[in-house]
Symmetry: C2
């Protein structure tokens, strides 16, 4: 027969830490602690399988479970020396939920089960504290009515009838705080609560402790299904079928006099990571009292500066403190991680209620991990697994001073972390003008387009009222490492008036200062002071360990020498994507770019391109210098030409004048170039194939720059990447152009054999993946462009997805944002096909990824499992990718071993 | 040693018909005829392998070939009783190209090789005809100088110096036609030609017959590489490496007196297919004389009405005629197909120069095939393979009377066959207005958009000045079976003035009559009489045979009862795609549709949908009735909503009034709905999932209609198809909506168990193919939407492809138009994955295709090989698909057998 109930108490337990799936995190942990000899109040856990059983049997429990529960309860009574429901020596219990993975606060809990009009007196006598017993009783009736009987839920969601009764009684007894209520007042309260239950449910509040216990267990299991728990599971990808366990545990009380206390402790400082026993406690109190904030808790440890008059636990209860220190060491050594512990001292006896790995800041996480390796508590590999790679983001960007006073005026999506303080501007032109006066600016737009690139480059931060985490603004900002808040529906932008208004009615004018917190998606009024990111020596040590184990190389997506340097400092091992078109938007170039686009003949086009050549060459010289000795992947022109065209009437007029054509003619031409679906239009290598002179100019700029830098004695490793190839013939033609120019330039400079270069392709169309064996014959490397591959594989335009994707995620149609983390079944499958077909004809074909996904830890893991050679991501995500790559390698090692 | 030269002559030949690859079509055929005992002038063929050898050896010939040629030449001389280069009894030869597949006129030919100042006299003496000999000589010098010596090519392409000389000599001798030139004049001409060669090339015209022969053979091999041949190969997917053969054959002459003649004959009438010996001949003439059109050829056969005074071959040369009839029978029985034969009678002796399967019209092809089965000459299966399925198109559409006099004013692309005569209109509104007066109209647009659908429906024909074979106009017109000419750059449309002008300067005004030939892409002035398509009994017989062998079912894409009926008459076995949105554009609905789109709340949206419900129900009733007992696949709303929005200021104003909002507000809303890439936007099931009430209304309309028609005693088989599914959850949610509505409607009508329906999905995204095993769990059928699948797999927007696709095809980057014929390596591979994954979880999953490709024979064959259950295509392509499906089944049978 299946075992449904797992007992724990007095150093013995049926379960253990490994049985998380069956007993839930809490149940497994209590069993483990008990076995370790830690003083844990006895009790038992009803398994998650029981939850699953109930769900599939219309609420019925498995046969025989009643006896199992009774047996476990009897054992608990034996250990605790009290009897459940006994009028003189009553045992009280708590009933708590616990799933495999912690779902904090999502499910229900019932405390003090076993109290009734008789046992309350036993408790009072036993503790010699009438008030304590009745206070526990009124809390129990309130909680039980709420959770088990659903009294509150019957009324208005926002209205709590128990609060109303309590308020009435406080008024009657003329007291302000709950703690001031006398025993009599509490007795009054219990009576009033029970009357309310009668009124609301038509039933008498259950008096029988066994009935109370059954009700509480049932409510805990049912709470698996309450909406907030369901939503939490959806958000965290927790399967419905896991179910929760229910743990019934003896109550202990920290409020049974001056020899009683309750507290929380961390085995090390969770904020700094220092190896210092950090914690707080309160004498004669219950956990709730700490939360209520009526009294201030005291520190447990005296080794830090403690304010005058404050008594530490070390001083107040030296023996118990010593016991606690011993338990701290035991637990930290046992779990080999920093512990977050809850304890209660009941009449001088220390009980541990919970221990778990403590949450910590990113810098604390690194310090603890590095220290523990030093202490030989954990291995380097374990240390590497102690950090969520995404956490590193906190460390890399400057941030608003958390201690500063500030006024929050709007919230949006935290699109790109960091902090920004600047004057509000509404256009790239304004940004430029204001920046010339030396003032920092924040670009505020409804949404951004490639036209705004220049303004975005200059701005300290970007704020938009529309768009999601993958909107143009968000993607570009992350790429630049610029702080960015998007989709702030709290603000309404009025370009004409040059203002934005908040829902709260505040009007912010052009030139006003605001501050952004890109990590939280918050907008503050005025100038909030900023503090810089401080990278510790521990950080360097930690990242070195990551580099030792990872197999994947990490490159960066960078379009400027500045971005390249930032990324190199963060450990980038090359550029995986340099987008040449971003260079096209600068003021001195855009006119020549437009001339090139509008050219009526190849001759005209070549003339315009000749103007661009020296500028592009200069760009590449800067990048090659910044990336000396490292590979630099340069993508030839990719976006549809019309993106570069003038949009405003003024711009059209200007260009018409330069090109000496009529405005009407210019407008007509612009209209002709407009596409219905530019994403699927005349772009990528289709441009280079229809206008070979563009590729030719770009190749010339690249190789001339390579020659200049080589002559400076620096090593250059250019890798030319042809975008949007669907047919091998497209790549072949482009390759020929690049090769011819390369050979001509290199030979004419006498640098033959001195510049090694590769020509490859960006794999970003399903067809390219499906025919990768043909394409690989023409390619020296593949780089997966997972942004476009996601768009085509899923048929979803990133720019338009905001119309339905948020709804899809909310409704659970999609479980993750495919532009953030690689959709493994679709896009991932195409990548798999691409790699295996490509390598079927070229065994060692270098494969990388340069989509936005290259900086997403889950995607990095996937790339590792695919056997890619490198990932490429925006500069500020390089350390994240390095750690994610290390963790992926470790995970694989574990799998191979097991 | 490899055999390089294959001799044929006097009933013996080294080669045979099977050796096409080695000897080319011509060489293989001559060998075969010779072996059959047909009198063929002797000669020999130099293999295609020699061509390949030369190409890969820098123009060198294989060793030993000279001797092989000399041996074959000696044998030829023996049989023909003349000697190459002999001054008294000279043998003349022709040198011709011949590839595996006929490339008519693409490569070079040299006739009369072996003539010089001595042999010309021998020829004159032998034939007793000075003039004939010198005429042959001057023709030879001209042709040889042109083809072998490249004299013409040295000058201007359009200027022919030989013509100039000839003109001068005709003036000198005061004659008008070449045929009037005397021997002396011809001698003058030869001298002048030779002088020209000397001037232009600096070399004397080669006198030595062997040198002439070497030059001619070399020129023929080299002509494999001339541009027009290369282009032809690209267009017809003929590999470069095949090469051509060169055939050297004795010349015979039909112009050696009244007992000589030349002619062409078809073993049956190539126009009607009747079993009647059809042909023309000319006494004392050469092939070129027929082309020159100076004399009219005479019929060979007298059994048809022959004009008075015209003498047939039967009458003029009764014995030779009998021989020819015998040869006709022999050849037709041997090749088991209608033959196209060239013959020459030289001084009473009949020589066959060529025989090949004759080209024929579609109706002739059917008649011949059916007749030959009746004659037990071929099997039914062979008959089915005798027609290119696409040929059937000719038969199905009415056509302009080929005999009528007409004025061609413009050409464009033949987008949709048929004929149309009507008054010119430039908008849907004009079309409607003019149609009400009872006049037929032709809609002329620069290009069309969904706004024009209504006008396109009403119009007899559609003409656009822009767009390709897959432009909106072309696709929709083919779908409707409406005659359509697109991309006619010969016309310039001016909407404002209500005219279009042709390049020739003709101006056509609104209301003027024009006529279109959609099968040829031609535009005529005025009203050209039309003749109806006449489907013969043979057609029915032929199609019945096709139905007997095919495994694939053929359905149709039809949105109206009318289309459904047309298709049913053409043999459609159901509807594979009924696009509900086409119904949305009609006048009485578009306002309600727009109200639905602009609704601010679900309530408002439901109100608008309630207005649409009865109209949609009525549509479905009509379609179900037309398709009684056959399955009808109905796709729920697919296009992005903004396609339905008002575009003109007037329409916006109207809608604003109806909806009681301000125009500015309306404009803002329209802008909000505009997408960057609508093809990848908020459309397909994404609409149905974000606005479930739309799917609900459509499901209700479908099932209420199904109930009405069922109660009429007709069988209804609805198949509801959910578009653009990428994730199984999308389909699951839509399925639930449709199922709930279906059960409710069917039960409330008491028709439970009486209406069977299916719910499936359109597979049109790469992700759907890659995750088909999951999606199949929710689907009762798959229908591949290969239009969208092509767009996403290749990343090419059909609407924008005209910017580069034509260039890609021309440059050979792409070998076929992927929107016309399935791209097997990319899209086809996805379909393969989709079918196999889908059927891995549902063994008998019904799979079909409903993209435009469903009517393309090559794609139908591919669908057969994939194991699909059906293809669906536009009504007028149904017979084509039926035949293509039959041929695919036969091909498979052959493969399995061999």
């Amino acid at each position: 027969m299946t075992k449904n109930v797992y007992f724990f108490g007095n150093k013995k337990a049926d379960g253990s830490a490994e049985m998380r799936d069956l007993l839930g995190g809490k149940g497994a942990n209590l069993a483990e602690m008990t076995k370790l000899g830690i003083p844990v109040p006895a009790g038992f856990t009803i398994t998650t399988e029981v939850c699953t059983y109930i769900n599939s049997h219309g609420g019925k429990y498995p046969p025989g479970i009643k006896k199992e529960i009774m047996d476990a309860l009897r054992k608990t009574e034996g250990i605790m020396g009290a009897k459940f429901g006994h009028p003189e020596n009553p045992l009280l219990v708590s009933v708590r939920s616990g799933a495999r993975i912690s779902m904090p606060g999502m499910m229900d809990t019932v405390l003090n089960v076993g109290l009734n009009d008789r046992t309350v007196n036993g408790l009072a006598a036993k503790t010699n504290n009438d008030r304590f017993a009745w206070d526990a009783y009124r809390r129990f009736v309130n909680m039980y009515s709420d959770v088990v009987l659903g009294v509150k839920a019957l009324g208005d969601e926002d209205y709590d009838p128990f609060d109303e009764i309590l308020a009435r009684i406080k008024k009657k007894y003329k007291v302000k705080h709950d703690t001031e209520l006398s025993t009599e007042a509490l007795q009054d309260t219990v009576r009033a609560f029970k009357t309310l239950v009668m009124e609301r449910t038509g039933k008498i509040f259950p008096d029988d402790p066994m009935e109370q216990l059954r009700g509480a267990i049932n409510a805990v299991f049912e709470s698996w299904h309450i909406p907030r728990a369901q939503i939490y599971r959806q958000m965290n990808n927790i399967p419905e079928e896991w179910g929760t366990a229910a743990t019934v545990q003896s109550m202990v009380f920290g409020n049974m006099g001056e020899d009683s206390a309750t507290g929380v402790a961390f085995s090390r400082d969770p904020s700094s990571g220092e190896n210092y026993f950090f914690g707080e406690f309160m004498i004669n109190a219950q956990g709730e009292d700490v939360v209520a904030g009526v009294r201030t808790p005291q520190p447990i440890n005296g080794s830090r500066k403690v304010p005058k008059g404050v008594v530490t636990m070390e001083e107040a209860m030296p023996d118990t403190y010593k016991q606690l220190v011993a338990l701290r060491d035991k637990l930290e050594h046992h779990y080999r991680d920093m512990q977050d512990m809850e304890f209660t001292i009941q009449q001088g006896k220390l009980w541990m209620l919970q221990t778990r790995n403590g949450k910590r800041t990113a810098s604390a996480a690194i310090k603890i991990a590095v220290d523990m390796v030093g202490e030989k508590l954990i291995s380097k590999k374990e240390a590497l697994n102690r950090l969520e790679p995404a956490q590193l983001d906190q460390l890399l960007h400057p941030m608003l001073d958390p201690k500063a006073e500030k006024t929050l005026i709007a919230r949006g999506l935290a699109a790109s972390p960091g902090a920004a303080i600047g004057r509000v501007v509404f256009s790239a032109a304004e940004a430029e003008k204001l920046t010339q006066t030396g003032d920092p600016v924040i670009l505020v737009r409804i949404e951004t387009s490639p036209d705004d690139i220049k303004g975005m480059h200059i701005a300290q931060g970007i704020l938009t009222s529309r768009g999601g985490m993958t909107s143009h603004a968000a993607v570009v900002a992350r790429g630049m490492g610029t702080c960015c808040v998007v989709g702030s529906s709290d603000i309404t932008v009025d370009y004409k008036k040059g203002i934005f208004a908040t829902t709260a009615g505040l009007v912010v004018k052009r030139g006003d200062f605001i501050s952004l917190d890109g990590g939280k998606g918050e907008v503050y009024k005025g100038r909030v002071p900023k503090v810089d990111a401080q990278l510790s020596g521990d950080f360097a040590t930690f990242m070195k360990w990551a580099d030792e184990v990872r197999r994947l190389k990490v490159r960066t997506n960078a379009d400027t020498p500045r971005d390249a340097s930032v990324a190199r400092n963060f450990g980038a091992e090359g550029i995986g994507l340099c987008r040449t078109e971003h260079m096209f938007f600068q003021d001195d170039r855009i006119i020549a770019v437009r001339e090139m686009i509008m050219a009526e003949s190849q001759e005209q086009r070549k003339q315009a391109l000749a103007k661009l050549l020296p500028m592009q060459r200069q760009d590449f010289i800067g990048i090659f210098q910044a990336m000396e000795s490292l590979p630099v992947t340069i993508r030839t022109l990719d976006p549809p030409l019309h993106e570069f065209l003038p949009h405003t009437a003024k711009e059209v007029k200007e260009l018409a004048a330069v090109m000496k054509v009529k405005v009407a003619e210019m407008e007509k031409k612009i209209e002709l170039l407009t596409e219905n679906n530019p994403m699927l239009g005349h772009r990528g290598c289709r441009l280079g194939n229809t206008f070979p002179e563009i590729t030719e100019m770009q190749a010339r700029a690249i190789f001339e720059a390579a020659c200049v830098v080589t002559k400076q004695g620096r090593k250059v490793l250019p890798e030319i990447m042809i975008p949007l190839v669907g047919f091998e013939s497209e790549l072949k033609l482009q390759k020929e152009i690049v090769q011819n120019v390369a050979e001509e330039v290199i030979n004419s400079q006498g640098l033959k054999h001195k510049i090694k270069y590769l020509i490859g392709t960006m794999v970003e169309l399903p067809r390219a993946c499906l025919t990768a064996d043909r394409i690989a014959l023409e390619a020296q490397f593949f780089s997966f462009g997972t942004n476009d591959l996601t768009q085509t594989c899923l048929g979803i335009s990133r720019d338009d997805a905001s119309r339905f994707l948020p709804y899809y995620l909310k409704a659970g149609i999609l479980l993750q944002e495919p532009f953030v983390s690689i959709d493994r079944q679709g896009v991932g499958r195409l990548m798999e096909i691409g790699v295996s077909k490509g390598r079927s004809v070229k065994k060692d074909l270098k494969c990388g990824i340069c989509g936005e996904h290259g900086g997403d830890p889950a995607s990095v893991e996937f790339c590792h499992s695919l056997g890619l050679d490198y990932v490429s991501c925006s500069p500020y995500r390089v350390p994240i990718a390095r750690l994610a790559a290390a963790q992926a390698a470790l995970k694989e090692e574990d799998k191979t071993r097991s």
